[in-house]
């Protein structure tokens, strides 16, 4: 045990004394999340919309005027019936269609409730949600203006519908995706580099010639990086929550536990890479090419897996980040409990066990 602690202390010294790398490791998540966050939530202006006004009364006209008075929307055309909605979306330049039910104003006056529908093209999910939110905000604003003069307040019910991507996959996806990528980077890359570094510098040779068990050497390396990765994950969560308002609907403890599971999985991957590479450069390249690219491209972080050709969909199954993103998205955005994500959790555990067994099998107690 003393041996183990002495080794953990040594690893912590290594990390703390390489302060340049430490600053990069801790600063990277902050910079990345701000970059991605602001790039994705950038304001949308002049989105083309179509309107199907089946009421054509004062309230619907007033609302349309109010909508078009903003710089967000540009009217492309008025539609005359519902069958035109689908074709106009297919043409591709319309981002949103707004529908007013027949007798919109009348019902608002008489029944105090009227319905309108907003259909957005969610193949670009971020734009779709944002346009939807703009529309809602404008309608709510109108509602409040009207209610200020009324005894009996009325409400406009907006029925929102997403075309092409009904579940709105991709919304807030950058936070779960970023957590996956940062953890991948810190955990897998740094462990694989740190182990190969010892091989390269020859310190592994000295360690092997001591009673130090390989498992202890590796475990002692994993602990500080687990800690560092966990801190990073927390930073991203906090930034996502406070700066970008990414919700955490599910159980926080479950979320943290799943994050630790994913960190362990990628750590085991990093260890595996280090057992099959002999230099820091090879380990770095293997981590970047073998882990980062698939994680960014195939995990569903940027490109929805559903839209990929089937061979890539098949390959995406062996990208641990894909499963982690499903889990974390489920917990954060949908409030899922373990009951909904147990399958993905089991898959991640499978990866973990697989890579640990493989590493133990591959780890040589001697020089090669």
């Amino acid at each position: 045990m003393d041996r183990f602690l002495a080794f953990v202390r040594k690893e912590i010294y290594h990390i703390l004394r390489d302060w340049r790398t430490l600053i990069i490791l801790l600063g990277m998540p902050i910079i990345q999340i701000l970059l991605f966050g602001f790039a994705i939530t950038n304001e949308i202006k002049h989105a083309k919309i179509a309107i199907l006004d089946q009421a054509k009364d004062t309230h619907s006209k007033a609302l349309i005027d109010k909508l078009l008075a903003t710089e967000y929307f540009i009217l492309d055309e008025y539609l005359s019936n519902e069958s035109e909605i689908e074709p106009i979306f297919k043409k591709g330049n319309i981002k949103e269609v707004i529908l007013f039910e027949p007798g919109f104003g009348q019902r608002l006056e008489k029944e105090s409730i009227a319905h309108m529908q907003v259909i957005a093209d969610a193949s670009d999910p971020n734009t779709a949600t944002m346009l939807l939110n703009y529309t809602k905000a404008i309608v709510t604003d109108y509602q409040m203006q009207q209610n200020a003069r009324k005894k009996l307040p009325f409400s406009i019910d907006i029925h929102a519908e997403m075309f092409y991507n009904k579940e709105l996959k991709g919304v807030y996806l950058f936070v779960p995706g970023l957590i996956a990528i940062i953890l991948m980077l810190v955990s897998a890359m740094m462990t694989s580099i740190s182990i190969t570094k010892e091989k390269e510098l020859g310190t592994m040779e000295v360690l092997l010639a001591t009673p130090m068990q390989p498992a202890v050497i590796i475990l002692a390396k994993v602990i500080p990086y687990l800690l560092l990765s966990f801190i990073n994950a927390i930073i991203i969560l906090l930034l996502g929550y406070f700066v970008f308002g990414v919700p955490i609907h599910g159980n926080l403890m479950l979320l943290l536990a799943e994050m630790i599971l994913f960190i362990l999985t990628v750590l085991s991957l990093g260890i595996f890479i280090s057992t099959v590479t002999s230099s820091q450069q090879v380990a770095l390249m293997a981590s970047l090419m073998g882990l980062m690219l698939p994680t960014i491209l195939l995990s569903g972080f940027i490109f929805p897996v559903e839209n990929m050709p089937w061979p890539l969909q098949l390959i995406s199954n062996i990208v641990p980040a894909k499963w982690f993103i499903i889990i974390i998205k489920g917990i954060m955005l949908k409030g899922a409990g373990i009951g909904l994500v147990w399958k993905e959790t089991v898959i991640l555990m499978g990866f973990l066990v697989f890579f640990i067994l493989l590493s133990i099998k591959k780890f040589k107690p001697r020089l090669t």
Binding site: D2, R3, A6, F7, K10, Y13, H14, R17, D18, L201, G202, T203, E205, V206, L207, L208, A209, T210, P211, M212, P365, R366, L367
Partner: protein, 307 residues
């Protein structure tokens, strides 16, 4: 203490060691002497359980280097050829780390390393990477000694170290010997051979000779002459073209020359050199050194290989 029987090792097509047999007694300084690439490091790595031999067996303190490697790793000390401590840890932290790896403390075994460590103790809070070559060697030796091993393996400990530090280092080895520690040391420097109790000369993975340094020198049958002249550059070539030459090798500013004939007459040689325009010729009979023996043994080995 160390028994090596018929150890062979190849890397692909390259034969690194060929049928090596050595026995090292308890408490002796045993030197493995040979040029770069002769197989010294490979042999030490096999003895320190870091490499597997292709054939043959070896035991260190009665423990087999292949089957009982786990137990063996507790009892020997090892200092690899390259400085292999943590450069971002301080002198003290490195030493403490190695103490805890072996489940001991610096205090418990301080007496053993005191002579060596007190020289670098003033720098104990300095990072190991910032030490000079000589101090690095002392730290590495301290770390290899901290668990009170009965035998230590040193792979070229003095390579890349200045002459003063080299001398100091050998003094330290002598003092370790007083603690009853057996030392297996490799070096490419022939002049260090005489500091060992016994030496093995190795070349191209084959042992040329094992004996005490004096016995090896004693085996040298030929007389050796140190020769200088004012035409240094031509001298070696001219001597090698001489009709009765056995061998001629450059040793610093001199050339060590041996003749084929037992009744060698220096005057004949001087005459030969004068004809070729050499002046200020000096021919002195000297005691053969280990290097002379080594070069002669090397020459014999090559001749047998050619035949």
């Amino acid at each position: 203490m160390i028994q090596i029987h018929g150890i062979s090792k190849s890397f692909g097509n390259v034969v690194a060691l060929q049928d090596i047999n050595i026995e090292v007694q308890e408490g002796e300084i045993f030197g493995l002497i040979g040029p770069d690439g002769s197989g010294k490091t490979t042999l030490i790595r096999i003895l320190t359980t870091l490499l597997l031999p292709d054939s043959g067996t070896a035991t260190v303190m009665g423990l087999d280097v292949v089957k009982e490697y786990k137990n063996l790793r507790r009892v020997f000390g090892y200092m690899p050829g390259r400085f292999s401590l943590y450069e971002d840890l301080t002198v003290e932290e490195n030493l403490e780390l190695f103490a805890s790896i072996f489940g001991t403390t610096v205090e418990a075994n301080y007496h053993l390393i005191e002579d060596i460590y007190k020289q670098i103790e003033p720098f104990k809070s300095r990072r190991a990477g910032k030490l000079s070559g000589g101090m690095k060697q002392k730290l590495a030796l301290s770390c290899a000694m901290i668990h009170q091993p009965k035998v230590i393996f040193l792979d070229e400990p003095t390579t890349g170290v200045d002459p003063v530090s080299r001398q100091e280092f050998w003094k330290m080895l002598k003092s370790l010997k007083k603690h009853g520690i057996s030392i297996f040391v490799s070096t490419p420097y022939m002049d260090e051979a005489s500091l060992c109790d016994r030496i093995a000369l190795i070349q191209d993975g084959k042992l040329l000779s094992i004996d005490t340094p004096t016995a090896i020198v004693g085996q040298y049958e030929k007389e050796v002459y140190a020769i200088v002249s004012n035409k240094k550059h031509e001298l070696l070539q001219d001597l090698r073209r001489y009709k009765d030459v056995e061998s001629a090798f450059l040793f610093g500013s001199h050339i060590h020359y041996s003749d084929q004939k037992v009744s060698f007459d220096p005057r004949e040689l001087i005459q030969y050199l004068e004809q070729l325009g050499h002046g200020e010729i000096e021919v002195d009979k000297i005691e053969p050194t280990i290097e002379d023996c080594f070069l002669a043994l090397m020459g014999n080995a090559n001749k047998t290989a050619d035949a």
